[in-house]
Symmetry: C2
Subunit: 236 residues, 2 copies
């Protein structure tokens, strides 16, 4: 047990809300899109616009991490990209393990889409002996019991958990015991893990709500459109 001042988080590291970090990812994508489109600079208004965020929100989010941008000129895209990548830790490539090689796990092994975002899946694990020692899409496969050794050898600190819900807690415990520090959890269960391990779970309900909103919106727009049609073009 420790007491006194040292328990207070160090300023600028601990007080950042998760949602701010999520928005950093969105800013990064937007900046990369602008840079690809040949734009060298961007204002906080422009950066927030397609995300539906006000310029002051953008500035407030970035202010958690320091002073960026140039008065009257906005941000330099390449500079802010590098700074956000450094904040997110993705200025270097993270080797990632996939644990559980069902359809999703196997699909992830073959997915190269986030390599340029700083993550590379370098190894897969399973307990099904039929899957072991047969590389999938060039990625080597090991038995889960070899995770501690492979993680240490390859410097793996992040893992994706893609096992069925029934096995998730037990496998997550093994992953944590292997020294993995961050876990992306696809199993639809709430995991109980030590506070020292960072867990991100994909919330399906939130994603589904985006869809139901869009479907309802479209239906109501088409109903409105059809009312307009009726008003302007009486049936003949």
């Amino acid at each position: 047990m420790r007491g006194g001042k040292r328990d207070k988080p160090i300023a600028g590291t601990d007080e950042v809300p998760k949602a701010v970090v999520s928005r950093l990812s969105l800013y990064l994508r937007e900046l990369q899109r602008w840079l690809r489109a040949g734009q060298d600079t961007i204002s906080s208004t422009q950066l927030g616009k397609t995300l539906g965020l006000s310029d002051s929100q953008v500035r407030k989010d970035l202010a958690y991490f320091g002073q960026f941008g140039y008065p009257g000129r906005g941000y330099r895209c390449d500079e802010l990209i590098q700074k956000i990548k450094r904040i997110l830790g993705t200025d270097k490539l993270w080797p990632v393990a996939v644990v559980g090689l069902g359809n999703l796990g196997r699909a992830l092994l073959g997915y190269r889409g986030f390599t340029h975002q700083g993550f590379q899946i370098v190894v897969g694990f399973d307990i099904d002996v039929r899957k072991i020692d047969q590389p999938i899409d060039g990625v080597p496969i090991h038995h889960l019991r070899e995770l501690p050794e492979v993680a240490r050898q390859r410097g793996i600190r992040l893992a994706i958990l893609a096992v069925p819900a029934s096995a998730a807690q037990e496998v997550a415990d093994q992953i944590v015991a292997a020294g993995i520090e961050g876990l992306l959890n696809f199993a639809p269960v709430s995991l109980t893990l030590p506070a020292s391990v960072n867990v991100v779970s994909v919330d399906l309900a939130v994603e589904l709500e985006q869809l139901s909103f869009a479907v309802v919106k479209r239906a109501s727009r088409e109903a409105g459109q059809s009312q307009l049609d009726t008003r302007n073009e009486p049936s003949v």
Copy 2:
């Protein structure tokens, strides 16, 4: 081809950025949490706080959809929950189909966690004849070719795509042909679909960035902690 004024989106339905809709989901979770904790009202400051959003951002987001809240008293939790659910379309229960019954698909069939958020998985589809006609966790399974008929019978407008990447586009085409209006895509591929179909894809890179940030932050905090330890407690 249509021209003139009717092509303009109807105010208040079409101009809502996706990020605002995402935040509605977060507001909804936060309001539900407050209500469970016995709080009847909440201010925009309180509603934004754990999400790292300013009170003005919260008010601006909600203003897309109308006038909520009471001056000087904030929002009534139960009332705002109902209003957000109506906006998101989740004031009624949506029957959802899962297409592709590998590990993830099967895990979803057994997952009841988002039923109280307005979504219920009522049927699964696959092309593997061994999986068909054997209910999984009580959910009936059909061959994919029966999707149009089952979707019509059960009023299914949303589907979750959980097939391997290699099959995703072809199966998505079939889902769209069956009249499904919203698709939650777990396959790590970018789907090409008609504009009339709403697609949400889970962006793994964004999720992984949350983890890398947290891991880097923890490492830097522990380094800082250990510096403090050294300063305050010289080794004996």
